[in-house]
């Protein structure tokens, strides 16, 4: 039931609204995976990043799409928690774990079940339209499931349409999807490669005159 509610909301409400209000003119959609396990790695400046990524996929792939999101933020009250878990379909991530606990356990299970994770390697939205250093969680997930392709995505303009803690203003947001990157044993090299792939996509976006 919920699965269909999620599909319907996305197809008849979220996707048309996104096209109207933020344009969603995207490139490289052919690189998106059709099935899991896979990891989508994108830059993160805004709450609409998750919606943008959900809207990129065909409706039927939605069932296996799971954004990994901060538990302290999204599970803050019952309504937000229900919506985040069932409609957005998040895997909650505890940012302050109890000692010895694997905070990525649920995300790893999802990969093992053949789902597609949406991960923001910066870990937080940060300053509008700027990229923060990547956190190691993405490498641990890739290490756990080495056959999963990691698809780099650069989201352009989301931090301007809806920056952290401010109101929404309609402005065009676009996503640039690149060719997959795969895990290899050298963690720092892997992280460099992934970050480089996202920065290459960033260079394709139109210049942003905003200061």
């Amino acid at each position: 039931m919920l699965r269909y509610l999620r599909r319907i909301l996305l197809a008849v409400l979220v996707r048309p609204m996104a096209r109207l209000l933020i344009g969603m003119h995207c490139q490289g959609l052919e690189h998106l995976p059709k099935f899991g396990p896979a990891i989508i790695a994108a830059n993160h400046n805004s709450h609409i990043d998750t919606l943008v990524l959900l809207c990129l996929f065909p409706t039927k792939t939605l069932d296996i799409l799971r954004p990994v999101a901060a538990a302290d933020h999204f599970l803050a009250n019952p309504l937000s928690s229900w919506f985040s878990r069932n409609i957005v379909g998040i895997i909650p991530l505890k940012r302050k774990p109890v000692f010895g606990e694997d905070i990525l356990a649920e995300a790893k299970d999802a990969l093992d079940e053949g789902q597609i994770l949406i991960v923001f390697p910066e870990g937080t939205r940060g300053d509008p339209e700027e990229m923060a250093p990547f956190k190691a969680g993405i490498a641990r997930l890739a290490d756990h499931c080495p056959k999963a392709p990691i698809i780099p995505v650069y989201i352009h303009g989301a931090g301007r349409a809806l920056p952290k803690g401010e109101m929404f203003v309609p402005m065009n947001v676009s996503a640039y999807v690149g060719e997959p990157v795969f895990w290899h044993e050298n963690r720092s090299l892997f992280m460099e490669e992934l970050k480089g792939a996202i920065l290459t996509l960033k260079a394709q976006a139109p210049p942003m005159h905003w200061d």
Partner: protein, 323 residues
């Protein structure tokens, strides 16, 4: 019900010029679509964007023709939507400051104000509320925010977008408020149809003449693909169409019609190179890729933002009692 009665009559009576015109547009689309299938096979590597370009044309023409047949209000709402998409595209590209986000929201209110004035048929409101008073409001609100560095440039940038995308595009919708009895076809639909057709034919004719005979660049720094041969060929083609078909669709004739025939194609060219200059300044090739094969909404309506006010004011001054 005046604006729909005309079409009911059209359905039972003999073919009228508007039906023939719309049929001609669809025939042109079919020919273009066939060319999009055949040409890439004859010359490998060339004509690759003709396919997506024709696909977008079908969508554009389909939506506009549907709105024209639905009547006055749906058409006004459609153009309000086009103004919104164009202004959003412009504000997403133009340089703005972080503090200006509320000002951008205020700029969008121009669409509601202008199209409300059109919908309630208050021409003086349309002429003053956005171009004069919203202009003052934007400048005041921005001064209130308090960042003075870059103030004048940003007020100018935002106002430019509002006038081009809202007021100038709004003139197309305003044409729907021309009283039917002042027009040869007893309906403003033909008036709007004729403006859109001559504006787009002018674009296409300049392109075709330029591709076929173009040699001498007309604006090498702004738009290097434009040539004197293309521009003049296009101007003459559009003049002839306006001269011969103008009396069918508009109340203009004689010298005013000839003058419109000269000025409108030049205005269309002006809109085109103005947008090119802006794109050069901002470092982009297209304003977005909302319309595959064309670029953005602004790439498609750039000529119209110049031709619509001129067409309207020519009609208002020389032929219409109401305006």
């Amino acid at each position: 019900m005046e604006d729909t009665g005309y079409f009911e009559a059209a359905l039972v009576g003999a073919p009228n010029p508007l039906s023939i015109g719309i049929a001609a547009v669809f025939i042109a689309l079919i020919i273009g679509t066939l060319a999009a299938f055949i040409l890439p096979r004859l010359q490998k590597g060339k004509w690759t964007d003709l396919g997506p370009r024709m696909y977008s044309w079908w969508v554009i023409v389909g939506i506009i023709v549907a709105a024209l047949y639905l009547g006055k209000m749906p058409f006004i709402i459609l153009f309000g939507l086009i103004s919104f998409l164009a202004l959003k595209e412009y504000l997403s590209l133009a340089p703005t400051r972080k503090e200006d986000r509320p000002i951008i929201l205020l700029a969008y209110s121009a669409i509601i104000v202008a199209y409300w004035a059109i919908a309630i048929d208050e021409y003086p409101f349309f002429l003053t509320l956005v171009p004069v008073y919203l202009f003052l409001g934007l400048a005041l609100a921005m001064a209130w925010i308090g960042r003075t560095e870059g103030y004048l440039a940003t007020v100018g940038i935002i106002y430019w977008g509002v006038v081009v995308c809202v007021t100038n595009v709004g003139y197309v919708a305003l044409l729907m408020q021309v009283p039917p009895m002042e027009l040869p076809l007893q309906s403003p639909t033909g008036l709007v149809f004729f403006l859109l057709v001559i504006t787009e034919v002018n674009d296409v004719a300049q392109y075709v003449w330029g591709k076929s005979f173009g040699k001498n660049k007309i604006t090498p720094n702004v738009s290097p693909n434009k040539t004197w041969e293309g521009a003049i060929g296009g101007f003459v083609t559009t003049f002839l169409i306006i001269w011969f078909l103008g009396p069918v669709f508009t109340p203009l004739k004689g010298l005013p019609l000839a003058l419109l025939g000269v000025l409108l194609p030049i205005a269309g060219f002006g809109g085109d190179i103005t947008m090119s200059a802006i794109k050069r300044d901002l470092g982009v090739k297209d304003t977005s890729n909302a319309l595959p094969g064309h670029g953005g909404i602004l790439d498609r309506i750039d000529s119209l933002t110049f031709t619509a006010p001129i067409y309207f004011h020519f009609l208002a001054y020389f032929a219409l009692d109401k305006f």
